[in-house]
């Protein structure tokens, strides 16, 4: 007994030394995950790392598997889930792949690059009370016709009164309102002449059909956006909505910000810079509840003047070459606006404004853009990305950064075991992503092997006895026996 204890003591001591905490074990896998590290900010991006965290986010038991992190080294896939929160409560957002920056070990994971795939899936869709403020370009250029003879304003009208767009603006289960504004020169004007919040689909359709039109004048795009996020929100009829509803500003234009006949593209750089600073100020205004701060979506009708020019929403400093490229000194009126639309400005405004930018050329595309801006919000999201198994051969850090709506960032350190894995995930035919295989799948490997080994153990004796039964166990016929028979 004493000898046994002496033998066991160092063993237990060593095992005791190994009982450390290097993260939570992820159920059904051989990976561990550390608690998420959250960047300071108003919005928390709560990455779920434990079942309790999932339950704390109101995720149902049947969705726990989707909520917990999953690492499948065989297919090179990683899955995480998160919930944006403000003050500990879910902050409902319409997050898509474009709104999220993903970093795997500090490297950007970009969908479509080097075979990488990324998908963001919203769960638990919810409608929240919203106030949509539509700012429609009413300048003279909206009267221009395309090859088929359809005026641009008519395309917008048709898109706005399409069934799907109306349903997006006025879902049945929640109260929403739409403010319809038109802008050209000076202060934007309410469509119909009187500022009101439209609350019924029929009234909205009627207002669009009857009152949404064009008037001559230049395009005060930047000033209209500035007005929408400042003075308009302070109007009594609007302000009364902001206690419950989240304001979403949707700006549609078909060209450039153009405030005078002599405006050249480069003149827009300081104006845009000033607007972006104002947007940033409003969106970071701590005196406003975060749910009352406006999000800005932009819709461009037409083709961009250049696909090479790109906005940098991380910054609000704008140089002429950033938005104009080689056309800095070119007049907008009658020259540049004929070439296309100012996509960079729209992207920049939407980027800093916490929304998304859409460039469309037809009615159907416009409809989709309006629907995108009015998309339903989700309570929590799954992020899936595929970077190849080789990148999962050691512990890695995954960082999720929300680049739209609000800034939020969170990281987790995932440590797959360096020695063994659970059964590889299975991907049903046609599915894009692998899902965890049931643990019972291990029996499919172990049982046949054990059966084979046991069978082989008996095979030797069986084979010998069979061989002897067939050949050697019978009496050997000797010649003497044969001779006796002959006699």
């Amino acid at each position: 007994m004493r000898t046994w204890l002496l033998l066991l003591a160092p063993l237990l001591a060593l095992l005791g030394a190994g009982c450390g905490d290097s993260g939570n074990a992820i159920r059904g896998t051989t990976a561990r995950v550390s608690p998420p590290v959250q960047e300071e900010g108003e919005v928390e991006l709560a990455i779920h790392t434990t079942e309790n965290a999932c339950r704390g986010s109101g995720i149902s038991e049947e969705n726990l598997d989707l909520c917990l992190p999953f690492v499948d080294r065989a297919s090179g896939e990683v899955r995480l889930s998160f919930q944006p929160r403000v003050g500990g409560l879910p902050y409902l957002l319409p997050i898509t792949r474009d709104h999220l920056d993903i970093f795997h070990n500090k490297r950007t994971v970009t969908h479509g690059r080097d075979g990488i795939e990324v998908e963001v899936i919203g769960h638990d869709p919810r409608r929240t009370p919203q106030l949509f403020i539509l700012m429609i370009d009413g300048s003279g250029s909206m009267a221009e016709r395309d090859e088929e003879g359809v005026r641009r304003i008519d395309k917008v009208r048709k898109a706005l009164i399409s069934r799907s767009v109306v349903q997006s603006f006025f879902p049945e289960d929640i109260t929403t309102g739409v403010v319809l504004m038109s802008f050209t020169e000076g202060k934007p004007q309410p469509v119909g002449g009187e500022l009101e919040v439209i609350q019924s689909p029929d009234a909205f359709k009627q207002r669009v059909k009857e009152d949404l039109g064009i008037s001559s004048g230049y395009t005060y795009l930047y000033e209209s956006v500035r007005y929408a996020i400042t003075d308009l929100l302070k109007e009594e009829v609007i302000e009364s909505w902001l206690d419950d509803a989240q304001p979403t500003i949707i700006v549609l234009t078909d060209g450039f910000n153009n405030e005078s006949p002599a405006d050249m593209c480069q003149d827009n750089a300081p104006r845009l810079e000033s607007l972006l600073a104002e947007i940033q100020r409003v969106r970071n205004d701590k005196s406003l509840a975060i749910r009352s701060r406006p999000s800005i979506f932009t819709v461009g009708l037409g083709k961009p003047i250049s696909r090479k020019l790109e906005a940098d929403p991380e910054s609000t400093r704008v140089a002429p070459k950033d938005i104009c490229g080689k056309w800095g000194g070119v007049r907008i009126d009658g020259v540049l606006e004929k070439k296309g639309i100012d996509k960079v400005s729209l992207d920049w405004i939407a980027g800093v404004g916490g929304g998304a930018s859409f460039i469309q050329q037809d009615t159907r595309g416009l409809g989709k853009a309006f629907q995108g801006a009015a998309a339903e919000r989700h309570s929590w999201f799954e992020v899936r990305y595929r970077v190849g198994g080789f990148n999962l051969r050691r512990a890695f850090e995954t960082t999720l950064r929300l680049n739209s709506f609000v800034f939020a960032e969170s990281s987790v350190n995932i440590q797959p075991s360096g020695w063994l894995d659970a059964p590889p995930g299975e991907r049903p035919e046609g599915a894009r992503w692998a899902s965890a295989a049931p643990y019972s799948r291990t029996a499919l490997l172990v049982m046949p092997i054990l059966g084979g080994l046991v069978g082989l153990a008996f095979f030797g004796a069986a084979w010998l006895n069979t061989r002897r039964a067939i050949s050697a166990r019978k009496p050997v016929k000797t010649r003497s026996k044969t001779a006796k028979k002959k006699k």
Binding site: L11, R27, F390, R394, G418, A422, L453, G460, V476, R479
Partner: protein, 328 residues
């Protein structure tokens, strides 16, 4: 294990390996089940030591269990030895892999316990192989120490190679540590079982058995009870012979003898001038006595060899067989 189920054929060389392979596979399954279903109670640094020590301990224990059950050891002694060997293997494996971790220190890659790399885990495998060999070696009181040590290291290297090939290359699937770790455990058990301890011939005894119709299937053991050299005589002498054969079938008074030496090697000697042949696959040996030679002709015989006595119309056949010693 039961010696009666293990014939004296090629299967006896792999039988222990079948048991150790099963044990290693079950150990891997147990660790994986604990990990996946219950969650590990240890940190990432101990994943390797826990897996290797489980496989190594199970293999060492299974090797001792096989030997003990074949030798009909008393249950208490059998399980005591088995547990002691397993515990020692586990202890040495955990200690060795921990030492390897200390040796790697703060190396940027080697110090990362989650890095899948044979380069930084080979030492852990070797320590585990050493531990796996030492456990049974101590239980066997140092017999075959060189064989045990070399087998332990060979086991570790083979298992490490399989683990690396399956996890790193695309031969099976690549980046799949599920199959890699399972096959590593299989290899561990198989190689250790094959190399370390095989079923010894001492558990079997030689027999001579009549194959011709008259007195068919009568048999006599060759070995003495105490394991000393022994010679058994076959012929038609009425008294004093070990196996009697009829004169009508060609047997002479003292026709042949089958002997076993102190190293359990068997040989047949031809003692008669009449035809005597040993037959085996692609071989026929004439053992007829030659008066010009000072001693009778003899040849080594193996299980399954036949001896033809007599010729023409008077002939009989006996066979030499190895059967479990307990058969007596």
């Amino acid at each position: 294990m039961n010696i009666f189920l293990i014939p004296y054929s090629w299967i006896r060389h792999i039988h222990v390996a079948l048991v150790t392979t099963s044990a290693a596979l079950l150990a891997w399954w147990a660790v994986l089940s604990w990990f996946v279903l219950l969650g590990p109670a240890w940190s990432a640094e101990w994943d390797g030591p826990v897996l290797l020590s489980a496989v190594s301990g199970a293999t060492a224990g299974a090797s001792l269990l096989s030997e003990g059950s074949l030798r009909r050891a008393p249950p208490l002694k059998l399980f005591g030895k088995m547990l002691a060997a397993a515990a020692l293997a586990v202890l040495l494996t955990i200690g060795g892999t921990w030492l390897w971790g200390v040796m790697l220190g703060d190396h940027p890659d080697g110090g990362d316990p989650t890095l899948v790399s044979l380069r930084y885990e080979l030492g852990a495998f070797m320590f585990a192989g050493f531990g796996c060999a030492i456990g049974p070696l101590v239980a066997r009181k140092g017999r075959g120490w060189l064989n045990h040590l070399l087998s332990g290291f060979a086991t570790a290297m083979a298992a490490a190679a399989v683990w690396h090939i399956c996890s790193y290359t695309q031969i099976i699937r690549g980046n799949d540590l599920f199959l890699a770790s399972a096959l590593m455990s299989l290899t561990w058990g198989a190689v250790f079982g094959l190399l370390t301890w095989g079923i010894p011939d001492s558990l079997y005894a030689g027999w001579v058995r009549i194959l011709s119709p008259t007195r068919f299937a009568r048999r006599i053991p060759i070995d003495a009870q105490d394991g000393t050299p022994k010679e058994r005589f076959i012929g038609r002498w009425v008294r004093g012979l070990d196996l009697w054969l009829p004169h009508q079938e060609g047997a002479q008074e003292l026709h042949i003898s089958v002997a076993v030496d102190d190293k359990q090697r068997y040989a047949a000697r031809g003692l008669s001038l009449y035809p005597t042949r040993v037959l085996r696959f692609l071989e026929k040996i004439d053992l007829r006595y030659d008066p010009r030679r000072p001693a009778p002709l003899k040849t080594r015989i193996h299980s399954g060899d036949r001896i033809e006595i007599g010729d023409g119309e008077s002939q009989c056949v006996v066979e030499f067989l190895m059967l479990p010693k307990e058969e007596r």
